[in-house]
Symmetry: C2
Subunit: 340 residues, 2 copies
């Protein structure tokens, strides 16, 4: 059986209150008593029951992270950012992911209730209103890249619209006039914002042009398929803007297989700036989504909210999304309208 505070008290010949005070660093304990107790704690290898502690203090020192998915470097970078910040704050991290639909996400959310002091929620489902009904009112929460309905919770987002706009401007400045866009999942808020950024830039910078959207779902496979479609076109665009890096990498693979040289034959761009994008060949022009930073900031904010629920008023911050120009985009070599 596990050793409890009573065992320590008995062996040390003091009361459980004194053991508790010693362990919690209360000042009113004699140095003598202190070292006596600590010795017994050591000897008995006593570890306080965190369940008992959190029951009474109403603190679990744990935060939950509700994520939509776990595929790819995007999420490992996000978790890494959260984990780093959590460790610095002495918080544990409970992750929950891979929720097929809203009902599953809601269930996961409720299951977190009571196990965590606060919640980090990334739910890019366009319609994430179900969240509100499933987060208990007094549980601190911070939203990431989630469509916010105003709301009492702080939120962080990446400037998806601005980033996509900047990428299109970059391509137009390079001389591209026919820019295809590989969209993310239709029900995904971030994907939608990026699409809108593309459209807005097209309208502003290439008035009269028509959009060219290929449907993807943020996976490499869907990027590969989009690339195959591009290859098959008679009126091939001079540039492809995939709305995340994984799709760009899948697309690159399809273009290469078809014998197209990027960026000589066709330019290619992504979004997110996952670490690997710097190392593909050619290195990928993309938009930096500051993933790790996003996770870290959200955690910091959550920690502050947990510590001072009343002092903190909800804030809504949008992180800049910078253009990162690498080798995969260039001036188009051939006049547009080339057929294969």
């Amino acid at each position: 059986m596990a050793v409890t505070i009573k065992d320590v008290a008995r062996v040390a010949g003091v009361s459980v209150a004194t053991v508790s005070r010693t362990l919690n660093g209360h000042s009113n304990v004699t140095e003598h008593t202190r070292s006596l107790v600590l010795g017994v704690v050591e000897q008995l290898r006593f570890v306080p029951s965190s369940a008992a502690q959190s029951m009474i203090t109403r603190r679990t020192h744990t935060v939950g992270a509700l994520l939509p998915d776990l595929h790819g470097e995007y999420f490992s970078e996000l978790i890494r950012g959260i984990d780093l910040a959590a460790r610095a704050r002495g918080l544990h991290l409970l992750v929950s992911s891979s929720h097929g639909d809203a009902a599953e996400a809601a269930a996961a959310l409720r299951a977190m209730n009571g196990r965590v002091d606060g919640l980090l929620v990334m739910s890019p489902h366009v319609n994430a209103d179900f969240l509100w009904g499933n987060i208990s009112d007094d549980l601190p929460a911070v939203l990431m890249n989630t469509r916010v309905a105003g709301g009492k919770h702080s939120s962080f987002a990446v400037d998806n619209h601005g980033g996509a706009y900047a990428m299109v401007r970059h391509l137009v400045e390079r001389g591209h006039r026919d820019i295809a866009f590989v969209a993310g999942p239709e029900s995904n808020f971030e994907a939608h914002e990026r699409l809108l950024g593309y459209r807005a830039a097209l309208a502003d910078l290439l008035p009269g042009s028509s959009e060219h959207v290929l449907q993807g779902d943020f996976t490499q496979e869907s990027g590969f398929r989009a690339g195959s479609q591009v290859v098959a076109l008679t009126q091939r665009p001079s540039a492809v803007f995939a709305s995340n890096d994984m799709m760009a990498i899948g697309c690159l693979s399809a273009l290469n297989e078809a014998g197209l040289q990027v960026p000589h034959d066709i330019s290619l761009a992504g979004f997110d700036d996952v670490p690997v994008s710097r190392y593909v060949n050619p290195s990928l022009t993309t938009v930096r989504a500051r993933i790790t930073e996003l996770g870290g900031l959200a955690l910091e904010r959550l920690a502050s909210t947990i510590e001072e629920p009343d002092r903190i008023t909800p804030s809504h911050q949008t992180l800049r999304a910078d253009l990162i120009v690498r080798q995969s985009t260039a001036t188009p070599a051939a006049p547009r309208g080339n057929s294969s």
Copy 2:
């Protein structure tokens, strides 16, 4: 204030025992009482305190995963495998990572004590003996890719030695006689096994040849540096075997920048088969480390051990590591000993 079981009992006009029985699905509750209680639970939005529950049942329905790092797709795939299996079993997942040294890992381990019903530990530090002193004796644990000292805990590992051996054989069969190896961190058990596999294959298949080891640390950057070193050699090897995919991808980038065509000018191979390795250009010949499967199997095993601590005897399973031949390896074009 949060609503407790007492509130439910009071409103429903029954005892807390009855509420508890209803909620825990005990059969000895009238259908009438049951629906009455459930109605009040619904109405009051009662969620039982998991702290109180786990204090009394000694079950947290949470498992902890202690990981060495979180960089790259390797870890997102691993977490994904664990998360999927955990969800299927109704278990929560507490992750802890980024431990600089043994002391930090030990502290993390102790902090998990009491918060989890069991532990998944991946600690490829060659010297992971500190683990034993910090896992409480009666806490179920399963080790992944950790040097096992026999041990009372079940373990899963990937056949790093065999996989590396198979890769060298593949390269030798393709006609390579000078195969450089990019090693992982020296203190990493897996990295060490892969190195030994390379050496063993060299000794068996290219007797008399000398090894050619470049030091890396499993990061893309270190792979890039190794690639740069290879480029600078006058006696360039005809093939480079990077001991993980991230280093291979970094290496590929360096080779490309130097104007070398893979596999025409030099063959390149990796290890792990992270998803992106299929999509780089050329696609990467590698060894499949079954990462997601590893995580899932380990979780399953842990869950079984938690449920039936006595029925389960420790098992030690090694997963096959299959060679995956893609485009990055080919027959050397030029005779060996070419200088640039």
